[in-house]
Subunit: 360 residues, 2 copies
């Protein structure tokens, strides 16, 4: 990840966790470690990491939070920061985020505010975290007013994406991460999207194409972030599908009814359909996107979400409170077709509301 | 305050609040404002600010917290951030901190994490905030593990120090702020300290020397911060008196028994006495510092603190948890005499404990 003095490596390897101890010992002589993780990852992957740190003679303590989006809360933020202070980790010590995007966002934010900022390392264990959330330095928690509304930009010092960790990831979570992977193709790389369509069976089965897909996604994300770390410009393209997606996540209470990546999958299809309705994009592209995401086991329509959704005005309210608003006008990532997304800052809320009514 | 692209003005004037509206309107076209303040300042100074914003046609909402150090807490941080989001302030809007150091630290931190960072303006109304906390970008809250252990570096866009506001500040608070003012002389400017000694009556009475003293203090702080924004080097000199001071504040429960500036006053005298004991500084200087601070109405010894203090091991524990520690060794700001402070990273905890025992 090229960011001048704050540049960092992204290591993608089957055994990145097993070699973590040796790597960290070389990078941070004398540092102690705090490992933030959740229950699931603690049983599935923490023993490997602990063994690796032990073998390198690195002192470490563990900070456990419950698995799930609900841990991106004020209460758990305070718990993690308090645990950092109780363990007497100092500014020169290292916090490790071992887990999915929830752990990365929570631990990264805690690292950014404990003692006004300590270094941290991302060890993403979900596909979503490996292709998206662990790279780029966005950290944060949710508020009752919406997702990710509280947080900081805080870059990790290192990202270790361990391919073997994905073996214990539940299939539904794998699919959710795949939505963010496909996103990079949809934004500005139709070749990547077509390659994903063709190679999906191998990616799904864990063949060599999986590592390649993750590497291509990280490279795409790193390029966008390097050009616009603070999201004043093109970084907003990464929000393709997210304005609709966040509103649906809010409407389903950030619950198991809809995972983040699932919301993004539906949101990307809606962004394509909305763009087609505005006459900006060919509607066959929306169909092709929907077909591929469905094939990858993802929901693609509002009807795919179990249970009732709130009425359109409530969804519109959530869309308006999403942080990608500027002085009242709605900002959306729209598209001219696969691989041709763009930022539109002047979307009329009424047009969106009408569109939502039509597709319900 | 010279900080490259993030440089900002520090305005010191008798009517800085009254002209705030016009100034902000010119700097931030189209922005809306949230004003964070406490009960005391809300009655004493908020009407002036509200009138000034109203006259300039600027929309504003108010976020009130109780007066006192206890507001630098997780709970009040969440309250302020929630209020920012509830008021739908956006990244391009402005949060105003109207109050003393507590409000500046709390509101500045809230601004740094709401929507991953919004701009804020400091309007310091206590002497301490005008000469110290409003300049330099340190923001934060306290933890049960110690003061200011959670926070961020977040520079304001503008500092407006209103001299008239000091007319409503209680005398004890004025004295506490004066300790931080005198600190700049003690660190590296003996001329400033001697000038303060000579001009104290006029500063105290609110004559022209007051504005000059505040301007000299801000200039001194800005110079140090510009050279070392993130406190990797000389910025630590600003902590003269603070390691002892923070431990005493913790020992007295951050209560009215000991104000921050009062703890700093005692701490600065102790730093001089400890340095003299180590044979580093002439002990007459310690006496001269003590005499001047006492004359300014400040406590200067442990015995001046009402009520009982915990035993020395408990104070030592607080000193060890202070954030200015590096891999276990104690860092102290020591001195070779008035205007000759320096950073010592290898202070033996046992020497400190013995010193504390002797002076109790
Ligand atoms: N910071 C960013 O730039 C960014 C980008 C995208 C998403 N996000 C955030 O990421 C979060 C979603 O991330 P996520 O989908 O990884 O969620 P998650 O962290 O909740 O992980 C999903 C589930 O998989 C489990 N899990 C993770 N790795 C596992 C493994 N190897 N074996 C077994 N179980 C495992 C977790 O315990 C959890 O139950 C959201 O909060 C979203 O806002 C952040
Ligand atoms: N960020 C930094 O760099 C930095 C530096 C030094 C101190 N601090 C912090 O500053 C805090 C202390 O600041 P403080 O002494 O200003 O405390 P404070 O904010 O509590 O103000 C002191 C008291 O004076 C009242 N007050 C303030 N202005 C007034 C006015 N014009 N009229 C009437 N009443 C007024 C307040 O309501 C409060 O009761 C501490 O929390 C300390 O940690 C921060
Ligand atoms: Zn996402
Ligand atoms: Zn201070």
């Amino acid at each position: 990840m090229p960011l001048g003095a704050r540049a960092y490596d992204i290591v993608i390897a089957p055994d990145a966790i097993d070699s973590a101890g040796a790597r960290l010992a070389a990078m941070f002589p004398g540092a102690r470690y705090g490992i933030v993780t959740d229950d699931n990852v603690a049983s599935a992957q923490l023993p490997r990491l602990a063994a690796s740190l032990d073998a390198a003679g690195l002192a470490h303590s563990e900070i456990l939070v419950p698995a799930g989006e609900a841990s991106k809360s004020w209460g758990h933020l305070q718990t993690v920061v308090d645990a950092i202070l109780a363990a007497r980790l100092e500014r020169s010590d290292i916090l490790i985020a071992l887990g999915g995007g929830v752990i990365g966002d929570l631990a990264g934010f805690a690292a950014s505010i404990a003692r006004r900022g300590m270094d941290f390392v991302q060890i993403p264990t979900s596909l979503l975290a490996q292709v998206d959330s662990s790279v780029g330095g966005k950290t944060g928690i949710n508020s009752s007013h919406g997702k990710n509304l509280v947080g900081a930009f805080h870059q990790p010092r290192l990202v270790l994406a361990d391919l073997a960790a994905l073996e214990t990831l539940p299939p539904r979570q794998f699919a959710a991460g795949y939505a963010e992977l496909a996103k990079y193709g949809l934004i500005d790389d139709e070749d990547l999207f077509f390659w994903l369509e063709a190679n999906y069976p191998e990616i799904q089965a864990g063949g060599p194409a999986r590592g390649e897909a993750i590497a291509r996604a990280c490279a795409a994300k790193a390029r966008v972030v390097a050009e616009d770390e603070r999201e004043t410009g093109n970084r907003a393209l990464l929000n393709l599908g997210h304005t609709f997606g966040h509103a649906l996540e809010k409407a389903t209470g950030y619950s198991d009814r809809l995972l983040h990546g699932e919301g993004v999958a539906i949101g990307m299809v809606l962004a394509h359909r909305f763009s087609a309705k505005l006459g900006l994009a060919p509607s066959q592209d929306a169909g092709r996107v929907e077909a591929h995401l469905k094939n990858a086991g993802l929901p693609t329509t509002l009807a795919d979400i179990p249970g009732d959704l709130p009425p359109t005005p409530v969804l519109m309210d959530a869309i308006g409170q999403d942080k990608k608003v500027s002085r009242g006008a709605l900002t959306f990532i729209l598209t001219r077709g696969i691989g041709r997304a763009f930022i539109e800052k002047n979307v009329d809320p009424q047009t969106v509301a009408t569109f939502l009514e039509e597709i319900r």
